[in-house]
């Protein structure tokens, strides 16, 4: 299984409910195709570097997930069809990943950061 990262830009004029619906829709697509979502990060409304479909702002959403090449193909096909999506980009992060391991590792990393923070406080 491979690890991917997809960023998609949603129409900034949508209300909170339809925004949630969009996120849920694409999360469902990933999960239906045997993918595992590691995390969803909403960056919020950001100014675009150039106009996309006559919009100068966009709502950025980052999805980190594990899946097969077919998962990405289907996800991108759906992103392309949806009018509310302005732009999308998928990047492969890791070639061979076991999704079960990944969730454990993420927790460890966070713990380590917390630990190191505590140490620095003590030194001060």
């Amino acid at each position: 299984m491979k690890r991917y990262e997809t960023i998609y830009i949603v129409n900034p004029n949508l209300d909170a409910d339809s925004l949630k619906e969009v996120v849920a829709k694409f999360s469902d697509i990933i999960e239906k195709l045997k993918g595992y979502i590691v995390k969803i990060n909403e960056w919020g409304k950001k100014k675009l570097a150039y106009e996309v479909k006559r919009f100068d702002k966009g709502y950025y959403i980052l999805v980190d997930f594990c899946g097969l090449p077919g998962t990405v193909k289907e996800l991108e096909r759906n992103l392309k069809l949806d009018d509310r999506i302005l732009k999308y980009l998928t990047v492969k992060i890791d070639e061979d990943v076991d999704p079960g391991d990944l969730i454990g590792k993420e927790d460890e990393k966070e713990e380590r950061i917390e630990e190191s923070n505590d140490e620095s406080f003590e030194e001060e």
């Binding site: 960023i7 830009i9 570097a49 150039y50 106009e51 996309v52 966009g58 732009k87």
Partner: protein, 89 residues
């Protein structure tokens, strides 16, 4: 004097690769602010001979900038104002 050597020297500042010198610096296409340092005002990628990056990091940087452009974090060009003027006619 046909050539001003004093002015020429001002542009040569960084001789070492910043990413090799500090391994904690990471090249990520999502961090547009870091990438913007390595682009000109017009949005072009600054060449290696000026930025001083090593070949490996320059390649990684170029890829990251191109990805950032694709998702509208960085501009392809800053001729945006001109395009708007055309539209008004």
């Amino acid at each position: 004097m046909p050539f001003d050597h004093k002015n020429k020297r001002i542009f040569i500042k960084h001789k070492t690769c910043r990413f090799c010198a500090d391994p904690s610096l990471k090249i990520d296409y999502k961090e547009s602010k870091t990438l913007a340092v390595f682009t000109t005002e017009r949005g072009k990628i600054i060449p290696r001979r000026i930025s001083g990056n090593c070949a490996r990091h320059q390649r990684m940087l170029a890829l990251a900038i191109k990805r950032a452009r694709n998702i509208a974090l960085l501009p392809f060009t800053t001729a945006k104002i001109r395009m708007k003027q055309y539209r008004e006619f």
